[in-house]
């Protein structure tokens, strides 16, 4: 006869066995086609470029050096790589501006939805999610339709008499910015809404009873209450903006590159796979740091609220 302890032990062993067996397929797939290849990218960033793409198996730190620096062909001195730096700067500043603009547009929108009667909020949220689940390429292409020289924006500008000839909007930083704001706006509205929905409006009422103005209520009560949502939305917008590839490629043309396009270039015409690999790891590191910041921030605010 098995004792109660033996039975319990066997149940425990079965449990451990089944939870590993059950999770193996998912872990294996992710390892094979996402995480594993990333480790190989790290290896590739320390190799020498081959003549026709790919790599030679020869250790080198050149790729990492040339992420930020440039070696002079004649006297072998190192200087800052201006082209790369300007692309980094464009990526970071466009992503920051995208985050700020989506916040400016998204905040009132989320607030508007959160203050509707409960049964109507679903419909408004649904209107936000539809563009979100629409193909990113189609949305970017739709933006191109609007920004073209004969598109609706130029038509309005000319009809209003602001300009008498079309303004070149496509293939500019502005077009990339407008496209990214358009594409990533739902990612800002959804987390903002999630935290606004929980606002206890009795606090707002108390504020008014104490003679606060609407602006003071907004600044001193509402914004502090939804800070977690603002942080979450900003991270959700900033990270994909930084890695954006399709939007700058379609709307920015060949000249307004972002990091994503610079990486692609190394695997195409650039034929410098190690540099492409090093740039990828650099981009991923920035993203991870941003995520870490987010995780620390949210765990802290969870702790203080309960």
């Amino acid at each position: 006869m098995a004792s109660a302890k033996e039975i319990a032990d066997k149940a425990e062993r079965d449990d451990i066995q089944s939870r590993w067996l059950l999770s193996t397929p998912a872990l294996l797939i992710v390892f094979l086609a996402a995480l594993g290849p990333l480790l190989i990218v790290v290896v590739y960033s320390f190799l020498t470029p081959g003549n026709y793409g790919d790599v030679k198996w020869q250790f080198s730190t050149n790729a990492w050096v040339s992420v930020l620096l440039e070696r002079d062909v004649f006297d072998d001195t190192l200087s800052l790589a201006g082209a790369h730096l300007s692309i980094f700067w464009r990526s970071v500043s466009l992503s920051a501006m995208t985050t700020i603009l989506t916040l400016i547009f998204g905040f009132p929108t989320a607030y508007f939805i959160a203050t509707r009667p409960e049964h109507r909020r679903d419909i408004w949220l649904f209107l936000i999610t539809i563009p979100f689940w629409t193909n990113l390429l189609i949305r970017t292409f739709a933006m191109q339709e609007v920004l073209r020289n004969d598109g609706i924006v130029n038509w309005v500008l000319q009809a209003l008499g602001i300009t008498d000839h079309p303004v070149q909007l496509m293939y500019t930083n502005f077009a990339v910015l407008a496209g990214m704001v358009y594409v990533f706006l739902p990612l800002m509205v959804l987390p903002l809404y999630a935290s606004m929905e929980k606002i206890d409006f009795r606090l707002v009422e108390a504020g008014y009873d104490l003679y606060a103005t609407r602006l003071q209520v907004l600044r001193r009560i509402i914004i502090p209450l939804v800070t977690p949502g603002i942080v979450a939305g900003s991270i959700l917008v900033f990270i994909p903006s930084l890695g954006a590839y399709v939007t700058p490629r379609v709307l920015g043309g060949g000249t307004n590159l972002m990091i994503g396009n610079l990486i692609e270039l190394q695997f195409g015409q650039g034929r410098n796979w190690p540099l492409g690999a090093a740039l990828s790891i650099a981009l991923m590191t920035i993203v991870m740091v941003a995520l870490l910041f987010y995780v620390r921030n949210t765990t802290r605010s969870d702790g203080s609220h309960g």
Binding site: I16, S18, L22, S23, P25, A26, L27, I29, V30, L32, A33, A34, L35, P37, L38, I40, V41, Y44, F105, P108, T109, Y111, F112, T115, D122, F126, T129, P131, W133, N135, L136, L137, I138, R139, F141, A142, M143, E145, V146, G151, I152, Y182, F201, V204, L218, I222, P240, G243, Y245, V246, R249, V250, G260, I263, G276, S280, L283, M284, V287, M288
Partner: protein, 266 residues
């Protein structure tokens, strides 16, 4: 107006929100309207016509790449949903254990890395394997799509499992049901809306992918989005608008279905 005394009111927020909704839908609306334009050029409206839908329908490249998109999305979504369901069971129906957070981070890893980085990583690995094995079929695309679909399928299924009432499963166990019977007759029927939601999300995400597909595909393996990306670069006819419109209608259909399924369960 009673509205003026509503404590929740903030001046200008409602009009700002309306403008936001207007701006969200203006480009999409423009795109759809010009799909019906009877003109070679996109700019000038010449009258209603379905000719660009006919043109797209008769373009064998469009049809081939659409079929390929659906094949990949169907297989990847099903594989991702099955493995995600199993993983969700393994990460919710046990006591907290060492490695749980690790598994959680591992499964969601594709969400945390920029797509372009994953795309480049897969290009490096798969181009090697293509040379070694000589195989260059759709398998690579299906594997890549399955991997980034796993977290999208996993999250709604896990959420559903966590919100489920455990007492039903306990009751079944008290009545001597085996583990398999409990799963088959209690857990699975209750979990079904979550599984369906995960499957649909995975399907849409796979159907939408441009970046990873662009880097992983071999010659002649265009999906609809990569085909469109190529067309957009070369200059556009309203045919692209027509294709986009059909694609758009489809996505909206799936999302609407998703909306109603997730609404019913609460």
């Amino acid at each position: 107006m009673a509205d003026r005394f509503d404590v929740r009111r903030q001046t200008g927020f409602a009009s700002m929100a309306m403008m936001c909704f207007f701006l969200l839908y203006l480009p999409i609306a423009t795109l759809v309207v010009y799909a019906f334009n009877d003109n070679e050029s996109l700019a000038i409206w010449k009258g209603f016509s379905l000719r660009w839908f006919h043109a797209a329908w008769n373009n064998s490249l469009v049809i081939e790449s659409s079929i390929r998109s659906f094949q990949i999305a169907a297989v990847a979504a099903i594989l991702a949903t099955i493995s995600a369901t199993m993983a969700a069971l393994a990460t919710t129906r046990t006591k907290p254990y060492r490695g749980l957070t690790f598994k959680y981070a591992f499964i969601n890893q594709p969400l945390m890395v920029p797509e372009i980085v994953t795309a480049v990583a897969l290009l490096i690995v798969f181009s090697r394997i293509k040379i070694w094995t000589g195989y260059s079929g759709l398998g690579y695309l299906i594997l890549a799509h399955t991997a980034f679909c796993v977290p999208f399928a996993y999250l709604p299924i896990r959420a559903r499992l966590e919100s489920m009432d455990l007492s039903l499963e306990t009751a079944a166990a008290d009545l001597y049901a085996t583990k398999w019977k409990i799963f088959r007759h209690v857990t699975l029927p209750l979990l079904w809306p979550g599984i369906l939601a995960g499957l649909m999300l995975a399907f849409v995400v796979s159907l939408d992918d441009v970046v990873i597909t662009e880097f992983v595909k071999s010659g002649g393996q265009d999906t609809l989005p990569t085909f469109m990306l190529g067309q957009i670069r070369r200059g556009v006819t309203p045919e692209i608008n027509a294709i986009s419109t059909v694609f758009l209608a489809l996505s909206i259909g799936i999302v609407t279905a998703f909306f109603f399924i997730s609404r019913k369960r609460t």
